[in-house]
Symmetry: C2
Subunit: 342 residues, 2 copies
DNA sequence: CTCAGCTATTGCATCGTTGCAAAAGGCGCA
DNA sequence: TGCGCCTTTTGCAACGATGCAATAGCTGAG
């Protein structure tokens, strides 16, 4: 009932604890006779190794944690799946943890009483926490950062080229002949840098096209959620001179924006074209389907996991910045039903 | 570097290991003088308790695991958020694990070398694994089941009343005057029972309305994903006498179905009304927005977590079947833009 | 001045497992 | 018959923390 231990099994089989351990682990040769006797005892007592004890002894757990702000943000859920796949390929196991983008929780995760010590390494997608904080807190556990960039080069980091991604998205809109291109999702005061990089890319595209940036068309949002995208779109549509296209900093904002447009009787893409970032499944099935810049999530996951495991086993190079590929997926929200749909 | 232990701190502060432990835990009184001296040593060495060792000694980890088939299915992601919230309220921590709905992985999770032993309890949302298997495998770790019903009453179980939910969804469609109501998502051969219960509710509604069930209008699907909903809808639209309404067994199927309808030029809800189950955020922002039967996820989470913790501390009643409330949210996909939108 | 009675501190054993090295048993060869 | 080698089996210590009970140190009462 309370779970049998090696000792119980050993007593029952009339052998030493160590021999039972050898049978369980299979690493050391055990005579056929004892092996069967021990095996029988194992079965009868339904022995399960106590992994906590094993991990303590071995000094590693075979588990890494993936820490994301919000699991119900589809991008993170989809990324999590890829991370799990990539990790399993190495014989490791992933546990997920959510911080809610709450700085307090992120700190708690890394602080004194940190759960982090139970894992061999962390894949961290930080939202609020800042660079120095991170560095001062994670000097024990191997860490690889996903997405958010941290300035000083003290961490391994995997992300897409946010400037290029934003630029390409905006250029796509310009290439369709749109001239008043808005942006939804800037976060000028956030500690995170992703939004700011996307704003840079957006500006680059406009400038290269010889257009001046209308600051009123850049709508900041606190976070990247659907309802904030809708709000931002309502704001834009109420302008004296509304835009004819919007670059949204992620797909959820875009979906909210499209919803607001629909409710206002504004047609997408005829009246206003919409493009997002993230390449989430939801965008494939929205009406209209969503044009998006899709990061290669599988590649991000593989790189991040590979790097983390290298850090864990000590074979890692010094901290690297890795850029993962991304790809513009053109769908109905910019080119209508005639386009490369689905 | 390798992480300092109580021993290191004790040596440095010139006190016993036990005293350091007392300072760290704060449970036993320590004189002001020693306390400051130990605290200084703790800070200098940046001591972090080894949670693995602590858990071994204490016999509990303060962590439970939530095991779901697929994290990128929005229902599970949203449920996970509620579970995390509910669990934190009790001072526990949740780790998420994904089985991919793969029976192999579910078994692995519960099998001999089970990770489960590292957690104080499991919230399990089984997909493939069957009743006897579950029982024979989890005799160690406290378990509460979510969603899928397991026949013999050997587990605590929390779910909505699937029959009633399906019946209400179907009745809603009938109440709008629809007479050829289809169903998407039956799984007559699955080990899981949820789909079968929903089919029962669907039939009940038709029968109570005095309609005969047209078996051709019940379209089974392997799983509950968007693309399968789209396929099923295409199939239905190709029938000689297509339906004027569809009850989809979850929101993803419904969203896929709506997408297929849009592509085929069939209007929702004018030509065909659509209702789903799950109440996921995505359905609020789709065009048209999706009518759905929404389980009270927060309530499910609270009940499940409360029950699990009771099982863990031994104060649990015998296994119970708990029905969580659900609610029909009427939106555009059944009543059009005139309805209780948003 | 002694002793009970309290508080602060400590040592030892223990949680369940595995690494290490020694012990025990079997066999061939001289 | 005796020695050494190889294989199987075992005992001990350790991973890092905490529960328990005993010790040391102090105060106040008789």
């Amino acid at each position: 009932m309370a779970g049998s231990t090696l000792r119980d099994v050993a007593r029952r089989a009339g052998v030493s604890i160590r021999t039972v351990s050898n049978v369980v682990n299979g690493s050391v040769p055990v005579s056929e006779e004892l092996r069967t006797r021990v095996q029988a005892a194992l079965d009868e007592l339904d022995y399960r190794p106590n992994l906590v004890a094993r991990n303590l002894r071995r000094g590693r757990s075979g588990m890494i944690a993936l820490v994301v702000p919000e699991l119900d943000v589809p991008y993170f859920a989809e990324l999590a799946r890829e991370v799990i796949t990539a990790t399993r390929a190495h014989g490791y196991v992933v546990m997920l943890d959510q911080t809610d983008g709450d700085g307090e929780r992120e700190r708690e995760l890394l602080g004194r009483e940190s759960r982090a010590t139970m894992f061999d390494g962390l894949l961290l997608s930080p939202l609020t926490i800042s660079a120095e904080e991170l560095r001062s807190r994670t000097n024990r556990v191997p860490v690889v950062l996903l997405g958010e960039h941290i300035f000083n080069g003290s961490f391994h980091h995997v992300a897409i080229d946010n400037v290029a991604a934003a630029r390409e998205a905006t250029e796509h809109l310009l290439g369709l002949g749109r001239r008043r291109v808005a942006a939804i999702g800037d976060q000028p005061y956030s500690t995170g840098e992703t939004a700011q990089l996307r704003t840079i890319g957006y500006r680059q595209a406009l400038e290269r096209a010889g257009l001046t940036v209308d600051e009123d068309l850049i709508v900041p949002t606190q976070r990247f959620h659907r309802h904030l995208g809708a709000q931002a779109m309502e704001h834009l549509l109420a302008l004296p001179e509304p835009p004819d296209a919007v670059f949204c900093y992620n797909d959820l904002l875009a979906i909210g924006a499209m919803r607001a447009a629909a409710r206002a009787g504004v047609r997408v893409p005829e009246d206003i074209a919409v493009v997002g970032v993230d390449g989430i499944q939801e965008g494939q099935y929205s009406s209209p389907s969503l044009t998006t810049v899709a990061p290669d999530k599988a590649q991000i996951a593989r790189t991040a996991v590979g790097t983390l495991l290298a850090v864990i086993d000590g074979s890692a190079p010094p901290p690297t910045e890795t850029k993962a590929p991304h790809q513009l997926l053109v769908r109905e929200s910019t080119v209508g039903t005639g386009g490369a749909g689905s």
